[in-house]
């Protein structure tokens, strides 16, 4: 019997009573699977903790469901709906485009055309397997092609065209460089002949192709999969068009020099810079020609990229839209698997807010395959005093990261040998599961879009991150859930999606908010909401390390899709190219919040200091913690050492850690309650802190390598307690939840639960010591 494999996802991340969720699943080796709704309590199987905990919940979907193997389309491209067949001219025509091929030698790639791989019919302007520009056509049995003389060079802007003279069968190829001082990899000093003009008579006539007009792909058909798109293109395309006659060399030269195509015979002219707004760019490429044949992006082609005519002076599409016509395609991009749903589920009123999952099993009992599809149920009418804010935007950023497999420096960063699981290998094998914002596309570009409409193997209970060998984000955040459950607190769940959409209104009903272990990715509305909540007297437990770090954006109509651009500083897996620093979705500058004047210290008192994944350390109390204004936090805690245990590398301070810094906006009345010490040299100083690099920036030599546990108050009895360490929450479940980390948390939560003045807030007089 074939090995059973189950991978699923659901169409929404956050739901409340009355909402309907749909569950998608692809199954290998079985045609039925048992679904069971469960509430997730704890996700880490570490022997020092309570182990994995879930509670089965009654639901109509708890039964066997028929399942099957499903396929997903990867690769971004543009599709032009053309019901009247205007883009299939019967006579002469010319197709032209500005292109910046990223990997001309990565197999056959279509730039634009109506090509059917299966039927060998239609025509396309593209790149052949040896990296040459080619115009090919097929009549259903035979193919003919005209190829340029010189190969295309990677990361260089060209203007290319092919014209077809129907009566003589003459095809003329046009290939000219439009390289300037800024726009390409190489400079004009390199003695390269980019030009090529070939004319040749072909023996095959394309007829009127039936395949759809695509940019960056061709149509293919498979009996099992049905229609899909292949021969995908890697690289950028700028303004392109189709003319209903053969354009002369002089006319093409005029377009190459920035002119508009002549009106005579114009069929379509896609102006990739049309429709830009100050608030971002959508997914439609506008045809300014007579028929308005607008192109729709599939799998999110990246826009707001520098175009062929970028002059380097303006650094944002908002300043010079005409220089930002680049639309970038990747053959491994994916936005939505678009699988058929197996079943759906409408959240009943009675379902308590919490972290839920549908557990799917198939196979013999004891050796069955299993998957959990998690989702979050928030309260339709908030009633609990505590909100646990799940950092789902950051889950998205790391979704299906390939660090352990693909990043040669990953082992050096985490100072670990990766610990892989079967689901990691499965994820690595299936390109359909997509990439994270920590990966590069196969063509070398950083991944700036990530989506939850695909199976995310690392957002599962029990999962341990391959690169580091311990739970990361969602499964680690479940330790906070388990703690709240164990201590019997009344809490409700919120997600970043709710925070982004509803703003401060999402937080306002709650007396206090607990953030997850790694709230690293924040959109402006999310950050504003948190800030407003605190300014209105909200209370926040910041349990992350490296929080409020990256600037992100969500398209308004697609909450499942998130965009980030990694700029010239920060701990970044990749770096955006010059001029491509602004988010397509919102028009904002991406990169670190710190570099936009909103360092995390301004919000929670601490910000990113270092990361290391070899060992965690305990906190040691600082003298300020003995002030009566804060000493209540340590009530019942013996000694100075806090958290010399933990499920994440044996300490409460570690993995990623934050520190206090007045120069970055830590509120001046913040107290450092405790700090960690003794971090190894595998905890280096973060790159945004480094101006000149010099030796000795590791944990054993630099005092700034530490986690600061801080506390400060805001107006109207608000306050922030910052644990400033990812490992903090993983220390909570140790020793049956009875430990000093848990005790400190309990003291803070209990105090935050009481409305009115916070404990210790009366100790504000100046000190007059006799001792």
């Amino acid at each position: 019997m074939a090995k059973i494999k189950l991978f699923g996802y659901c169409d929404r991340m956050s739901v409340k009573a009355g909402d309907t969720l749909r569950f998608m699943l692809s199954a290998d080796g079985t045609d039925t699977a048992q679904f069971q709704l469960v509430r997730l309590i704890h996700g880490d199987q570490h022997p020092d903790g309570p182990g994995f905990m879930e509670v089965e919940v009654d639901a109509p979907l708890n039964r066997q469901w028929p399942v099957r193997k499903q396929y997903a389309q990867i690769g971004s491209y543009l599709e032009v709906p053309d019901p009247d067949g205007r883009l299939a001219p019967e006579g002469d025509f010319t197709v032209h485009a500005f292109i910046w091929p990223a990997t001309p030698k990565s197999g056959r790639q279509v730039i634009a055309g109506r090509w059917s791989v299966t039927d060998v019919a239609g025509w396309a302007l593209g790149i052949d397997t040896n990296g040459f520009l080619e115009f090919w056509m097929g009549d259903g049995t035979r193919v003919d092609a005209v190829r340029s003389e010189m190969p295309l060079l990677a990361q260089s802007w060209y203007f290319v065209a092919a014209s077809f003279h129907a009566a003589s069968g003459r095809v003329t190829l046009y290939q000219e460089s439009v390289l300037n001082r800024y726009n390409s990899l190489l400079s004009k000093i390199v003695p390269l002949e980019y030009r090529s003009h070939v004319t040749e008579s072909v023996r095959v006539r394309p007829g009127r192709p039936t395949a759809p007009f695509l940019v960056a792909g061709a149509t293919e058909h498979n009996a099992r999969r049905g229609r899909f798109v292949s021969q995908l293109y890697n690289g950028k395309v700028d303004r392109f068009g189709v003319q209903g006659r053969c354009l002369s060399r002089a006319e093409l030269d005029a377009i190459r020099d920035g002119g508009e195509p002549p009106a005579d015979g114009l069929i379509a002219r896609w102006d990739t810079t049309a429709g830009y707004t100050d608030r971002g760019i959508g997914n439609t490429v506008v045809d300014t020609g007579p028929h308005g044949l607008h192109a729709e992006g599939v799998n999110r082609p990246v826009r707001a990229q520098t175009g062929w005519n970028w002059t380097g002076r303006e650094d944002c599409f908002r300043l010079a839209p005409a220089q930002y016509g680049g639309v970038e395609f990747h053959d491994d991009a994916i936005e939505d698997c678009c699988w058929e749903p197996v079943c759906d589920y409408t959240i009943p009123d009675a379902l308590k807010s919490g972290c839920y999952a549908v557990r799917i099993r198939a196979g013999e009992p004891g050796r069955e395959a299993e998957d959990h599809i998690p989702f979050f149920v928030r309260a339709a009418r908030p009633s609990a005093p505590i909100a646990l804010l799940m950092p789902t935007a950051s889950y998205l950023a790391y979704a299906n990261e390939h660090l352990a497999f693909d990043a040669p420096i990953a082992q050096a960063i985490v100072s670990h040998t990766p610990v892989l699981s079967e689901s990691d290998v499965e994820m690595y094998r299936n390109r359909e599961f997509g990439l994270s914002t920590y990966d590069h596309h196969a063509d070398g570009a950083g991944v700036c879009y990530t989506s939850y409409r695909r199976p995310i193997v690392n957002m599962r209970p029990k999962y341990r991150l391959a690169a580091m060998g311990f739970p990361w984000q969602f499964p680690a955040d479940l330790s906070i859930v388990a703690w709240l459950e164990h201590l019997g607190y009344d809490y409700e769940i919120l997600t970043d999606e709710d925070l982004h959409r509803d703003g401060v209104a999402a937080l306002a009903p709650y007396r206090m908010v607990i953030n997850g272990t790694h709230a690293e990715y924040y959109s402006e509305p999310m950050l504003d909401a948190t800030e407003d909540y605190l300014a209105q007297g909200g209370r926040l437990l910041y349990l992350s390390g490296n929080g409020y770090y990256w600037v992100i954006g969500f398209p308004e109509d697609k909450p499942w899709l998130m965009e980030v651009r990694k700029l010239d500083s920060g701990s970044r897996a990749w770096q955006a190219r010059p001029g491509e620093h602004y988010l397509q979705t919102t028009g904002e500058k991406s990169g670190l919040w710190r570099h936009r004047g909103r360092a995390p210290q301004k919000l929670v008192g601490t910000g990113f200091a270092s990361e290391g994944m070899d060992e965690s350390q305990p906190f040691r109390r600082m003298p300020d913690s003995h002030h009566k204004a804060v000493s209540w936090i340590f009530e019942g805690v013996e000694g100075d050492i806090i958290g010399d245990f933990g499920l994440a590398l044996g300490g409460a301070a570690g993995v990623e850690i934050d520190r206090y810094d007045l120069s970055l906006g830590t509120p001046p009345h913040t107290r450092i309650l405790a700090s960690s010490e003794g971090h190894s040299d595998n905890y280096p100083k973060v790159s945004e802190e480094i101006l000149y690099n010099f030796p000795g920036m590791g944990g054993t030599q630099d005092f700034q390598i530490r986690a600061d546990m801080t506390y400060f108050t805001t107006q109207s009895h608000g306050a922030v307690f910052s644990a400033s360490s990812i490992a903090w929450a993983s220390a909570l479940p140790c020793k049956g939840f009875d430990n000093n980390v848990s005790r400190v948390m309990k003291n803070v939560v209990d105090a935050f639960l009481k409305p009115g003045p916070l404990p210790g807030s009366e100790f504000i007089a100046e000190e007059k010591h006799w001792r």
Partner: protein
């Protein structure tokens, strides 16, 4: 141990182990330049999708010049060779040479057609001359008996060829190589014995003579010889066209994909090799029959020597000397053997020994005849190059100048040097204490020596980098090596299982130490 920079441990007085060879070559043959801004009007052969010359533009990596390389120069050689064959008879009056030239052209035509079976289809069929002979005898018989004109001999030969084609094609799809060769040889012998004994086919006169001919009587002797040659030359061109048409198209590809002993594989990938073989047998047999008709018209009759073993062996020699599976091999091989056989006729039997010697040398020293020599020479040069390089080079050591010319990213050359020195240094750090330190504490702050080792290991490239694989969380782990290639899963390194993560980490460390010490 006193501290020394690992990169400065070499002895400055000591040069490289082997003196560096000077590299760099001047190019003596000019290469075509790309058209640049000018329009290139690219030509094709009429009625095909083929270009006149197969070229590829490329940037010369040494100066980035846009050059056009002719990937297949054979059309140029053919053009020159055929032009020579076209004008050569005008340069001589020698009757021996002119009649030998006609024989060459006819034999070349036969060999070209035969090559479709023996080369393209890869089947050892020895019935070739039997078919030619049958065509010739059939044509001659009808011409002599019923006074048919010379041109009728061609379709008659073709028709006889068709019958023979069907007869030899059927066993070809069932019999294995050696048995098939025997069968066809038997067929040829049968034909010979038949015509030698048959009164109708001139057992008394030793052949049939007096058939009609295409060579006009009213020309001078030399003129007749020249006319005969050009007619034979035209026949050869037709055979060449047929060879290109079959070998260069779909049928040829199918046949080359299904040579003898590979039938099962071909069938598995969906090739109907039986059909393809029947097709090629019928096509080639008809063509051989036509050539037989031409033969009868050329020699005004036919003789039993056509079926004889020595003719067959002579033709086999032509094909073997030229190289099996190549049109140029068939033609040039024929030229050589015919030249020795007919031009040096004064040498008598010695010339046959000469042909045998040429064939022997060809078989003993070349892998694919005369026209395989270039590839063979290149392979030999590659082999010598690797041998010499291996002798001059240390494994994983510094790049030698001739190797540097082959590395596009020049930084990689420095990396090799740096890495070599680094590994030499790191080897000195491996001690029992360091290994024990790692065993006790695989993660966390390490001593200087251990952290230098682990830092080096962790930064290595992804291909074959070790990782731990979880069989049962917290209980069972194994060591794998990553592929470094997206989509390709890791492979298990050995069959050992570790029961704690610490043990697994240490196992990986020991493997890495082992790799380091072995490098």
């Amino acid at each position: 141990m006193s501290w020394r920079n690992p990169q400065l441990r070499r002895d400055p007085a000591k040069g490289p182990v082997h003196p560096h060879l000077p590299v760099g070559r001047r190019r003596w043959w000019p290469r075509l330049r790309a058209h640049g801004g000018n329009t290139w009007r690219r030509m094709r052969y009429p009625l095909t999708r083929r270009h006149v010359l197969w070229t590829r533009g490329e940037y010369n990596p040494r100066n980035l010049a846009a050059e056009v390389r002719i990937l297949d120069k054979r059309p140029l050689w053919w053009m020159a060779g055929l032009a020579f064959l076209a004008i050569a008879p005008l340069l001589t009056d020698d009757g021996t040479i002119l009649s030998a030239a006609s024989i060459f052209a006819i034999y070349a035509a036969i060999n070209l057609v035969w090559m479709l079976v023996i080369g393209t289809a890869g089947i050892t069929s020895l019935a070739t001359l039997a078919i030619v002979g049958a065509g010739a005898y059939g044509g001659a018989y009808l011409s002599i008996t019923y006074d048919w004109p010379w041109w009728s001999m061609l379709p008659v030969g073709g028709a006889i060829g068709l019958v023979f084609g069907v007869i030899v094609a059927l066993p070809a799809i069932r019999l294995e190589g050696f048995y098939y060769a025997l069968l066809t040889l038997g067929l040829a012998e049968l034909c010979r014995v038949y015509v030698v004994q048959s009164r109708v086919f001139g057992s008394a006169t030793g052949g049939m003579y007096g058939a009609a001919t295409h060579i006009p009587d009213d020309l001078s002797d030399t003129g007749q010889l020249r006319f005969a040659y050009y007619a034979a030359f035209a026949l050869m061109l037709c055979a060449l066209a047929l060879y290109r048409w079959v070998d260069g198209q779909r049928l040829g590809r199918l046949l080359r994909a299904a040579p003898e002993k590979n039938e099962a594989f071909a069938e598995a990938v969906g090739i109907d090799y039986r059909r393809a073989r029947i097709q090629v047998f019928i096509i080639s047999s008809v063509a051989l029959g036509v050539i037989g008709g031409f033969y009868a018209s050329h020699f005004k009759g036919a003789s039993p020597s056509l079926f004889s073993m020595d003719s067959l062996l002579l033709m086999l020699a032509m094909i073997v000397i030229g190289g099996i599976g190549k049109a140029e091999g068939a033609v040039v091989g024929t030229l050589i053997v015919v030249a020795i056989d007919k031009v040096f006729i004064d040498l008598g039997a010695l010339r046959l020994i000469l042909i045998g010697a040429v064939m022997l040398v060809s078989v003993l020293t070349t892998r694919a005849g005369l026209f395989g020599i270039q590839a063979q020479f290149r392979a030999w040069r590659e082999k010598k190059k690797s041998e010499r390089r291996a002798r001059r080079q240390e494994k994983g050591g510094e790049v030698v100048p001739e190797e540097a010319t082959e590395i596009a990213d020049k930084q990689a050359i420095y990396h090799r040097r740096f890495d070599k020195q680094m590994r030499d240094f790191l080897k000195t750090l491996v001690t029992d204490e360091v290994v024990e330190e790692h065993r006790l504490k695989p993660l966390g702050q390490h001593s200087e020596a251990l952290s230098r080792l682990t830092n080096y290991f962790r930064r290595g490239p992804m291909a074959d980098k070790y990782a731990v694989f979880t069989i049962v969380p917290m209980r069972e782990y194994r060591v794998v090596a990553l592929s470094g290639q997206r989509g390709v899963p890791p492979r298990l390194v050995n069959d050992r299982t570790y029961h704690s993560l610490g043990d697994a980490y240490h196992a990986v460390f020991l493997l890495r130490i082992n790799d380091l010490l072995e490098s």
